[in-house]
Amino acid sequence: MASLTVSGALTSLDEIRAFVNEQATKAGLDERRTYRLSLAVDEIATNIINYGYVSAGMDGDVRIVATEDNGDLVIVLEDSSPPFDPFSHARPEDLDAPLEERDIGGLGIFLASQNVDEFRYEHVGGSNRNIFVMHKQPSDGSLASQP
């Protein structure tokens, strides 16, 4: 298990991605799957920082924990900003509309969920927990498992 605590500021995103890349490499994920995992975590961390802390006028940390569990790499982002369930936000439906007509909301959440094998959210003991799972040996037909 490895963990990192960073301040809830956009300048921490670099460090978060570097941590995820390192853990993914250690777990044996290939380059593409490492990128996808890093992107997913970055998107949710960005939402936590922007919508959790900054717009709530709060300071706080983000904790990121990596564990290997039964052939999976599991990354958990924990924060104590107000409860924010990403699944309560609508998926972007207008993906084929011209750029100028796009509704941008929810894009980050969409990218996060599409780029990992499993993405779930819990609210436990006053903390938001965003959980990302990448199977070390992909076996299903999901995008996340494609080369």
């Binding site: 670099d14 970055d42 207008d94 750029l99 969409f110 990218l111």
Partner: protein, 112 residues
């Protein structure tokens, strides 16, 4: 890796070269460069992203902003996207509104 954007405008074509990692922290720099390039009223805008190693949705949002800023009469080219960056662009449908190229060919772009 830190994000940088450099720009030049030549013959009415604005060329922005993006390098490094385009996350939410870097998006404002990109947006500022777009605004500055747009002030010159270019007839075309080209984004060279061969050295862009990461792009989050914040970067996609600036693409939307760029397209809106330029208006429908100005084409936006995106050149040299890495496979992983290209995947993000296509899975969100953004490839419909920009012209994706593998390489920058000035003569070809000028004649389009």
């Amino acid at each position: 890796m830190a994000f940088t954007v450099t720009s030049e405008t030549k013959d009415g074509i604005a060329i922005l070269t993006l390098e490094g990692e385009l996350d939410a922290a870097a998006a404002n720099d990109f947006r500022a460069a777009v605004e500055e390039a747009a002030d010159g009223d270019p007839r075309r805008m080209v984004l060279i992203i061969q050295a862009l190693t990461f792009m989050a949705s914040a970067g996609l949002r600036v693409l939307v902003f760029t397209k809106q800023k330029m208006g429908s009469g100005v084409d936006l080219y995106v050149v040299g996207a890495h496979d992983a960056v290209l995947e993000t662009i296509t899975m969100t449908g953004f490839h419909h509104s920009v012209i994706m190229l593998d390489e920058y060919d000035a003569a070809e772009i000028e004649s389009m």
